[in-house]
């Protein structure tokens, strides 16, 4: 019975294609704008070209920095996002976008942000969706356009967005966030220079608690409020308020706009058609001969032929999205401290962590040693990120070991002198100073050389 229903859902339920078309256009334009903004701010140079050494994701050590060709990669990615917006050679464009964007992200994990990961994940999903079947240049070229597309294609985007919100909400159910209002109690008072609220509300303890609890409830509830037709307009207003508030308070770039526009996918075709109409009339302004009609045949619906491989890929993709964020349960110790299973899990804005980590290069036989000046090898941003994340510390320790080996030093041992403060706690030693990190290998196993946090954080 259930199987039949599922089968029916995938084969025979259809929906209006305008929602996906709107989504495609907004996504493409936002990405184009983000990439230009990134370039304009000089970040291509400061984040991808200036560093002498890049921190790699485990398993992606083969991803090389392209140095000044990184600009080329950004150009490719920007053109692809424009083509996605136009719906021009869509399938090819979105695949190129996914690959180039993800490659950029893989160059250096120093720049990891959940919202970049969201873009990668979303664009991967979009490779499988018929987002160019309506209101696209591809229609114009093919001479056909669709009146209906399978409903699951739109629903899959909704599902992904729901996972992001809900998991972000779950992650906020922890004692630091709810009982200590941490780290908002550190961050908000430092926003004293915001007009009106900075010197007043941002300084109040109850405001920190209100925003912590409010954020948690918002994240958990918003998927359901968006899914429900009755609550949808209210939910969308909440989405706007919430994300623009975060935009005012935190330097989070384009993410609020991405989430706001993404939420439009939940609306039904009435609104979507209006948006497309607006775009049409806007485009018509540029047309030389407005009376000339383009002949596009309407096809009643398409059967989206997904190859078995695509089907398996999509199933695995969603299983991964549902399960991977929970991998932390397999690791002992505090998640926020050890960061084992922290990334790729929609844990957003949960920790204020700062570290100071220096490395001691020792000759195991003569016992002679010296400390390294991190800034000889890392940018300020890399040093900051390295100082409190165990996998960064290990990777950098190996880089230093190999570097000094190459310089002719012998019997090299690398020790870390590392202190980290988490969510307002007094800083404590982070890495066992007696462990020679040069002998430790990166893996998915628990890193025993991280000294446990001398406190407990309860919750998800």
């Amino acid at each position: 019975m259930l199987l039949k229903k599922i089968n029916f859902y995938f084969k025979n339920t259809h929906t209006d294609p305008s929602g996906l078309a709107v989504f495609r256009i907004l996504f493409g334009l936002l990405m184009l704008f983000s990439l230009i903004r990134f370039w304009y701010k000089g970040w291509i140079e400061s984040l991808y070209i200036n560093p002498k050494f890049n921190f790699k994701y485990y398993g992606f050590e083969w991803v090389e920095s392209l140095d000044s060709y990184t600009y080329l990669l950004f150009i490719v990615c920007a053109i692809a996002s424009l083509f996605v917006a136009l719906g021009f050679k869509y399938k090819f464009s979105i695949i190129i976008f996914f690959l180039s964007f993800t490659y950029i992200e893989l160059i250096d994990k120093t720049t990891y942000l959940n919202h970049y990961y969201f873009v990668s994940v979303l664009s991967f999903l979009m490779c499988f969706l018929p987002a160019n079947k309506f209101f696209s240049l591809d229609n114009y070229l093919d001479g056909t356009s669709c009146e209906k597309i399978p409903k699951w294609t739109v629903d899959s985007i909704k599902l992904l967005i729901c996972i992001v919100y809900f998991y972000a909400g779950l992650a906020k159910i922890n004692s630091d966030w709810l009982l200590k209002a941490m780290p908002l109690a550190i961050w908000l008072p430092s926003k004293y220079d915001i007009p009106l609220i900075g010197q007043t509300f941002m300084q109040l303890k109850w405001v920190h608690y209100l925003m912590s609890w409010g954020g948690m409830i918002y994240d958990l509830a918003i998927p359901f409020l968006l899914l429900n037709k009755k609550t949808r307009p209210f939910a969308f207003i909440m989405v706007i308020i919430f994300h623009l508030l975060t935009k005012i308070l935190f330097p989070i770039g384009m993410f609020p706009y991405i989430m706001i526009f993404s939420a439009l996918i939940f609306f039904d075709s009435g609104l979507q058609k209006k948006i497309l109409k607006k775009i049409s009339s806007f485009l018509r302004l540029f047309k030389k001969n407005p009376r000339k009609h383009i002949n596009i045949k309407s096809v009643s619906f398409i059967r989206l032929h997904l190859s078995p491989i695509s089907k398996i890929a999509l199933i695995c993709f969603f299983l991964f999205q549902l399960l991977f964020p929970f991998r932390y349960v397999f690791y002992p110790g505090e998640l926020f401290w050890n960061e084992e299973g922290y990334r790729f899990s929609w844990r957003v804005m949960l920790v204020e962590k700062k570290g100071a980590t220096d490395f001691k290069i020792t000759d195991s036989i003569s016992k002679k040693y010296f400390y390294v000046n991190n800034r000889d090898f890392l940018t300020a941003f890399q040093e900051k990120q390295m100082s409190f994340q165990p996998d960064f510390i290990l990777e950098y320790a190996h880089f230093l070991g190999n570097h000094f080996k190459g310089q002719g030093h012998e019997n090299i041992q690398v020790f870390a002198d590392s202190y980290v403060g988490l969510n307002g706690r007094l800083s404590q030693r982070f890495i066992d100073p007696k462990v020679n990190l040069f002998t430790k290998k990166e893996s998915f196993k628990h890193k025993k050389w991280v000294i446990p946090l001398n406190d407990e954080i309860k919750g998800f």
């Binding site: 942000l113 207003i237 989070i252 957003v348 002679k368 010296f370």
Partner: protein, 385 residues
């Protein structure tokens, strides 16, 4: 209706959020905040008065310290002039004495690497050590040199004077010999060095007269605001200028072997401890807000800022923790020999222990204090999550 409300809301918050990114707020915002300020009584403003702290820093630390340095250097310059006229032992002693007191004042100034000082690289002209002896010698012999050239940073400033006043011979007689007859190349080099030091210091000190007003109002939490920059400068100085240069490098922390000749005040063999202690006192006074050369005057400082933020770590206040570690470091330095070179040569472990104690203050400043103040490491510019 809902659409209209949400559109209006969107546009309102959008403009609001965009302008908060800019350094210059739009008129609308500053107007409304003025109105708000006038409505809300000052007593209700809950934030810490950062501008008052900046005023205190400028008026009671930075400007008086520069003023004092300016005066000290002018006295030193006069003493050099008298010595060059009559290159006698007695006059030489006076030059050395004036050099030391100016050098001690410098320890109160080096951390304020902001504004003009940063722009003209004041520290590079004042305190790069170890000196480049060969370069100094060749400068003196040729009589042709450009002290503006970065290659000459290690041939001028206090360390170069240290070399010229203490390092030119085995004993005072040998050194004095170099300055005979008066007005020779050695004397001329002394004059060039002090002139450059005085000129650079005057430039910075005079600039503060106008820069002050810009400085004290720049209270925002941005990478370029006075408050964030000076906080970063303070911590950078403590870590680099104080910990690394005065202790770490000579004790061999950053090299395989000890480098005892890289201490500050190397040639005098008398003053490395004096200078280091002076610098630690300067740091401590700035931290607790005891005005420059006026212990009775206490104002806003990192200590009161941390107290305002109620920064507690395991029931102890963070500023108490920092102060107690700082005092441990100071008492550790007190026990070292006056001459760090001989300390390193005879018992480097005590020197290393001192380094560790200073390092534990660095951790508290860099990790705990910066986290509490939520001030970012300078010039890290990227989006966050």
């Amino acid at each position: 209706m809902i659409k209209k409300i949400s559109l209006a809301l969107f546009i309102f918050i959008f403009t609001f959020s965009c302008s908060s990114e800019d350094d210059n707020q739009s008129d609308f915002l500053s107007n409304s905040s003025e109105i708000f300020d006038s409505v809300v009584n000052d007593d209700i403003t809950l934030g810490f008065d950062r501008s008052a702290m900046l005023v205190f820093w400028a008026d009671n630390f930075i400007m008086p310290a520069y003023k004092k340095l300016k005066d000290d250097l002018s006295v030193l310059k006069e003493s050099i002039a008298s010595f060059n006229e009559e290159p006698l032992q007695a006059n030489f002693e006076i030059v050395r004495e004036k050099w030391l007191s100016a050098y001690k004042t410098w320890q109160h100034v080096e951390m304020f690497n902001i504004g003009k000082a940063e722009e003209i690289y004041l520290s590079s002209f004042m305190n790069i050590y170890p000196v480049n002896e060969d370069r100094i010698t060749s400068n003196i012999n040729s009589g042709v040199y450009d002290l503006e050239n970065p290659n000459n940073y290690a041939s001028q400033g206090f360390p170069a004077l240290d070399y010229l006043l203490f390092g030119l011979g085995e004993n005072d007689a040998e050194i004095l010999e170099k300055y005979q007859p008066s007005d020779n190349n050695y004397s001329k080099y002394l004059v060039s060095v002090i002139n450059k030091m005085e000129a650079k210091t005057n430039t910075v000190s005079n600039d503060w007269d106008s820069y002050r007003d810009t400085f004290v109002v720049s209270t925002e939490n941005t990478a370029t605001s006075s408050i964030n920059k000076l906080t970063n400068d303070f911590i950078f100085y403590f870590e680099k200028g104080l910990r690394t240069n005065k202790f770490g490098i000579p004790a061999g922390v950053f090299s395989t072997d000890e480098l005892p000749s890289k201490v500050e005040g190397y040639y005098s063999k008398l003053y490395s401890k004096t200078l280091a202690l002076e610098s630690l006192y300067a740091v401590k006074n700035f931290f607790i807000g005891k005005a420059f050369e006026n212990d009775a005057l206490v104002g806003d400082s990192f200590q009161s800022y941390l107290t305002f933020l109620n920064a507690k770590k395991n029931d102890t206040s963070l500023s108490d923790l920092i102060l107690s570690k700082l005092d441990t470091a100071i008492s550790s330095v007190t026990e070292l020999s006056d001459d760090f070179t001989s300390q390193i040569n005879t018992d480097n472990n005590t020197m290393l222990l001192t380094f560790d104690r200073i390092q534990s203050v660095v951790i508290l400043l860099k990790v705990d204090m910066l986290q509490t103040l939520n001030i970012n490491v300078d010039y890290v510019d990227a989006d966050g999550d």
